[in-house]
């Protein structure tokens, strides 16, 4: 370092990427120290770079090993890393197995992405006019062969792995009949992604559609229930009216029977009782008789069971048996209405 002339010192500094100012008596020492420092740093950097080359592969392998759940000897892997890449098609040592697993995972990753994108496209407008979300196995194989440089054997190995793995990989393998489960690779007819990848706009519009549909369904249900309620109220009101009509009828009948009895007491009638049908015909005009039949029958029933002042009897009148009502109490005592 000491033997360097000013010019050489300048050149050395520039070679290391530093632009020095004028090298004078006062600055010479400073720049010499700078050169020393820069040289040390450069040496360190070169060493780092050599180590860096091997590191990414190492990290990837490390992650792979962890994911596979297999323990590994990092030192061994690092030693293997120092070897040149070899053809791993037929070898079965640990390093090659790791590499194969890596290739398999890469293939699966590509396949997953491809299926997800296709399924997403299908869901969102289907610009490529796909027939269904399920991609035929030949198409998928072709795509994978284009994207990665793997053979069909590797593709089948990937499919087998998916079949044998009991974790959810996100890829569904479907057979000819779309609903049955496949158990062997040759039965697989098409592949479908379990998680389609859709754009944000598409997702938003789908979400909106779903929300609107749900709201509409909710309102329809509400309207339906409300209609049901109205129907029920109407029926209930009708029943109430009928009941009211019945009580009206009962009241009228009681009046008639009582009046008849009073007339009989005053010798205006022949018998103390009056025929039921006779009462009916008195109270209900002929045109309403069919319409009021229900009300009448209920009234008759009511009187038979709930009115103690009127007795329902069967008498022989003019040679015929007929049902009659007879007032059973003295008129002045038992009047509840008048």
């Amino acid at each position: 370092m000491a033997g360097l002339s000013d010019l050489e010192l300048r050149r050395e500094l520039q070679a290391l990427g530093f632009q020095p100012g004028p090298i004078t008596d006062t600055t010479r020492d400073v720049y010499r120290n700078k050169l020393r420092r820069l040289r040390g740093e450069a040496r360190l950097r070169d060493e780092e770079r050599l180590r860096e080359e091997a590191r990414p592969r190492l990290v990837f392998l490390g992650i792979l090993w962890v994911k596979m759940g297999k323990p590994s000897a990092p030192q061994e892997a690092e030693d293997n890393m120092k070897l040149l890449p070899v053809d791993c098609e037929r070898k079965t040592d640990e390093f090659c197995q790791a590499k194969q697993k890596a290739a398999l995972l890469e293939l699966l990753h590509e396949l997953y992405n491809f299926l997800a994108i296709q399924a997403g496209n299908f869901e969102c407008g289907n610009p490529e006019k796909l027939k269904s979300k399920c991609i035929p196995v030949t198409e998928a194989q072709e795509y994978i062969a284009n994207v990665t440089s793997s053979s069909s054997a590797k593709f089948e190995a990937a499919l087998t792995w998916i079949l044998s793995s009991n974790k959810d990989v996100g890829i569904w393998l479907k057979g000819e009949d779309q609903s049955e489960l496949v158990t062997t690779v040759d039965k697989v007819a098409c592949l479908e992604s379990a998680r389609p990848r859709m754009g944000v706009g598409c997702r938003l519009s789908r979400a909106l559609l779903t929300a609107v549909t749900n709201v509409l369904i909710f309102f329809w249900c509400l309207a339906f229930l409300w209609g049901l309620l109205i129907l029920l109220k109407y029926r209930w009101r009708k029943l109430e009216e009928e009941e009211q009509a019945m009580y009206e009828m009962v009241k009228k009948i009681i009046d008639v029977v009582q009046d008849h009895y009073v007339d009989w007491e005053q010798d205006m009638e022949r018998y103390p009782y009056v025929g039921i049908l006779h009462v009916r015909d008195t109270l209900i005009p002929p045109q309403s008789r069919r319409r009021m039949k229900r009300v009448w029958d209920r009234a008759v029933e009511f009187l038979a069971s709930n009115e103690s002042r009127i007795q329902t009897e069967s008498h022989r009148v003019a040679g015929e048996d007929m049902l009659v009502w007879r007032w059973t109490k003295p008129s002045s005592f038992s009047d509840s209405e008048r």
Partner: protein, 90 residues
């Protein structure tokens, strides 16, 4: 980091013939040492060195340490002072 009164006084106006001791971080002892090395009585010579080193902080501070034995704080104060003066007046 607040600046000292010395710093503020120095950067407030062109340095003219101010002595080397008026630089922030340079006290009596350091000032004397600088004089011995030929960085005479005036501050502008130190400014000269600062500029020749192209205002590089590491180089200047290393130079100051080697020349007069300034510690880290003293060299930092001196560098900061000169740099601000240059920003204002150069």
């Amino acid at each position: 980091m607040t600046t000292s009164q010395k710093h503020r006084d120095f950067v407030a106006e062109p340095m003219g013939e101010k002595p080397v001791g008026s630089l922030a971080g340079i006290g009596e002892v350091l000032g004397k040492k600088l004089e011995e090395r030929g960085f005479d009585k005036v501050a502008y010579v130190v400014l000269g060195q600062f500029l020749v080193l192209k205002k590089d902080e590491d180089l200047f501070r290393e130079w100051l340490k080697d020349t007069c034995g300034a510690n880290a704080k003293q060299s930092r104060d001196c560098f900061g002072c000169l740099r601000e003066w240059c920003d204002a007046f150069l």
